[in-house]
């Protein structure tokens, strides 16, 4: 027995050496069914399991084009379609799952793409297993999809070990193309057409001389009173047209009101101060005030220094306006337009200076501050209606009635939705569910 030990050790050494040598330089595997030979140990192992394998690219985890055993299946059934309602810069890639359900080693998918005729595939996106089996290609700005270009796609199932089991590259069934009409915006189009129709209807009704009643708004009616107060006191009027740019509709509405206020101010001969944060708003405000003085028949009374640019910095502007309030002590302050965090600082300082204050904004978050500190506040849409109220021009009044009609329709729809929901809750049915769903549908898909 003892004499056999060296022989056994020798045999063991030889076996170990042989195994090491095999690991260093693996012998050619048995040809697969297709007659190909395995090129790596991993592939050889896969082939021993009786599967077809082919290395198609170099990477840390070899991409193997094959159907593998043990629940490792390459994704299949790849369908590439044009992503709808876009500029022609996206494609939808759908595929069938790449493993048997519940395979814990399957972590996700990798989607590869190449332009037809090219050799190399590029990784354009990865997905977690929970992300489903749909991939929108073109969202990543690093891998843009070009309109009209024919692409080829390959989807690989990614496993915990890092291995990727990929499908055959397939030519995309469709190419990306832009659409002429966004089908998801049909409801917006219908809503716009309805709104436009109502506005135009009331424009014409107003032009025909039909009397239109507008409920009085205290803030707008107080404008004349506030201007009169400043005139009596011989103090200036401060008008802040918001801090936003001219692209903000609230600023345009504010400049419209400024025109009306400036005309009255010109008639009464009251000093006016209009500080601006935006240079474009400043130029328009200056022209508006100048025009108002001309309309009032007092172009000579227009002071070029009454409308001025302060600064573009938000809090520096606030500091500047607060300084004006405390030095000049205006009798009336108007804050009409778009405001942010500075609203309360402005209005509170104005309140401390003893001025009568009229504010108006469509910034919902700033409204409570204005309501608390100002004498009158135009809430939301009232800011847009103010111009029509002050001008009393038929077309302007018509637009307000058009808005009211639209709001009436919305209120009716909301009430209907509430009633339907209540009916279904009480009766425990879903008989009118389709109608409720129609109302609750998102405006843009």
């Amino acid at each position: 027995m003892l004499r056999k030990v060296p022989a056994m050790l020798l045999a063991l050494l030889l076996a170990t050496g042989l195994a090491w040598a095999q690991a260093e330089d693996p012998p050619p595997a048995e040809p697969a069914e297709t007659g190909e030979t395995a090129e790596t140990a991993e592939e050889a192992v896969l082939m021993e399991e009786g599967v077809e394998a082919e290395i198609i690219s170099e990477s840390d985890a070899s991409i193997i084009n094959a159907t593998i055993g043990d629940g490792m299946i390459a994704p299949g059934g790849i369908v590439v379609s044009d992503w709808p309602n876009d500029a022609g810069d996206a494609l939808l890639v759908t595929f069938e799952p790449g493993s048997e359900t519940g395979n814990e080693n399957h972590t996700g998918y990798a989607v590869y793409r190449r332009t037809q005729g090219e050799e190399e595939l590029t990784l354009v996106g990865t997905m977690e297993i929970d992300d489903g089996t749909e991939f929108i290609d073109g969202y990543d700005p690093d891998y843009i999809v070009e309109s009209g270009v024919q692409y080829e796609y390959q989807v690989a199932a990614v496993y915990l070990s890092g291995a990727e089991i990929a499908s055959d590259p397939i030519a995309a069934q469709e190419v990306a193309g832009g659409q002429i009409f966004h089908t998801g915006k049909v409801r917006v189009l219908v809503g716009c057409a309805l709104f436009l129709g109502l506005i135009l209807f009331y424009f014409h009704a107003a032009q025909r001389g039909i009397e239109m009643y507008l409920r009085p708004i205290a803030g707008i009616e107080a404008i004349d009173e506030a201007i009169g107060r400043a005139t009596e006191m011989g103090k200036p009027i401060l008008y802040v047209p918001g801090l936003s740019t001219i692209s903000d509709v609230a600023t345009i509405a504010s400049l419209t009101i400024l025109g009306r206020v400036a005309k009255k101010v010109a008639e009464y001969g009251t000093p006016l101060l209009v500080p601006n944060r935006d240079p474009i708003v400043y130029t328009i405000a200056e022209e508006t005030v100048k025009q108002a003085y001309m309309e009032a028949g007092r172009p000579d009374a227009f002071d070029k220094d009454s409308v001025f640019f302060l600064t573009q910095s938000q809090f520096a502007f606030v500091a500047g306006v607060n300084g004006i309030m405390m030095r000049e002590k205006p009798a009336t302050n108007f804050y009409l337009g778009m405001f942010w965090a500075e609203s309360l600082i402005l209005a509170e300082t104005g309140s401390l200076s003893g001025a009568i204050q009229i504010a108006g904004t469509d910034a919902v978050t700033q409204l409570p501050f204005f309501i608390t500190t100002c004498d009158y506040t135009l809430i939301g849409e009232e800011l847009y209606a103010a111009s029509a109220y002050l001008g009393r021009e038929p077309k302007q009044l018509g637009s307000i009635k058009g808005q009211d009609a639209c709001k009436g329709i919305i209120m009716a729809v909301i009430t209907l939705g509430i009633l339907l929901s209540l009916t279904d809750i009480i009766a425990g049915t879903d008989t009118l569910g389709w109608l409720r769903n129609l109302i609750a549908m998102p405006i843009v898909d």
């Binding site: 500029a87 022609g88 832009g178 659409q179 002429i180 009409f181 917006v188 709104f195 436009l196 506005i199 424009f203 509709v249 345009i252 400049l255 419209t256 400024l258 025109g259 601006n276 935006d278 240079p279 474009i280 400043y282 130029t283 328009i284 200056e286 022209e287 508006t288 025009q291 070029k304 001025f308 640019f309 302060l310 573009q312 910095s313 809090f315 520096a316 500091a319 030095r327 309360l344 600082i345 509170e348 469509d362 919902v364 409570p368 309501i371 608390t372 500190t373 939301g380 849409e381 800011l383 847009y384 111009s387 021009e393 077309k395 302007q396 637009s399 307000i400 058009g402 808005q403 709001k407």
Partner: protein, 222 residues
């Protein structure tokens, strides 16, 4: 001409961009991008007018020796000194973060220094005033002068206590009721205002596109 050309541009442009909203095609997007790239260029030119206005206002104050005219120098000197030095000594503008702040710069530019040590603290001071103003405004708003003001006061107390840990200690229902007030009555009111604002914006835009509202034209409006 002075009036009709801008009106025509606005009408054509306005209708074009209403239609553009419904067309996702690449050409439509290109047109939109082209327009949005234009707007800041116009804004940059308007800034010159703004600086002109500020200079004129303060130089008039100095000339007339108006009240506190000395302070106008504090506006005019930096207003022109900054671009002057920026042109002559661009390095004085600095740029990038200092080593102490995780950057690579070893020396601090004059304007960096002024920005970090003067402008930022002043702006922060202005912003911090808001906290005191909120307290003062809240005191006025929450005085129970009428039945409605009392409801507002109660709602405010519940919402405020619902947001802080002590509220939960007082009663577990505080955060729940506070959240309910925020989610339902408050959100409903906000949405109603938002809806009105939306219609107001639409109506104003239509009035501008169809030339009913012309005040934005300034002197050419009438």
């Amino acid at each position: 001409m002075k009036r009709s050309i801008p009106l025509a541009i606005v009408m054509v442009g306005g209708i074009l961009f209403i239609i553009q909203y419904f067309i996702p095609h690449q050409h439509s997007q290109t047109l939109f991008d082209y327009y949005t790239e234009w707007a800041p260029i116009v804004g940059a030119f308007a800034l010159v007018l703004g600086v002109g206005s500020l200079s004129r206002l303060h130089s008039h104050k100095i000339k007339r020796k108006a009240k506190n005219w000395q302070y106008s120098y504090a506006v005019l000197i930096p207003l022109f000194a900054v671009p002057f030095f920026a042109l002559l000594m661009p390095e004085s503008l600095g740029g990038g973060l200092m080593e102490s702040m995780g950057g690579t710069r070893t020396t601090q530019g004059v304007f960096d220094f002024a920005y970090l040590n003067v402008q930022i603290p002043i702006q922060s001071t202005m912003f911090s005033l808001l906290a005191f103003y909120i307290a003062s405004a809240a005191f006025r708003a929450f005085r129970a002068k009428s039945a409605l003001a009392t409801v507002l006061l109660l709602a405010a107390i519940i919402v405020m206590l619902g947001q802080v840990p002590i509220g939960e200690l007082i009663g577990k229902w505080f955060p729940k009721i506070g959240l309910w007030i925020l989610r339902y009555p408050n959100l409903g009111a906000k949405r109603a205002i938002g809806l009105g604002v939306g219609f107001g914006i639409l109506a104003t835009q239509l009035k501008i596109i169809f030339g009913v509202e012309r005040n934005w034209l300034g002197g050419a409006g009438e």
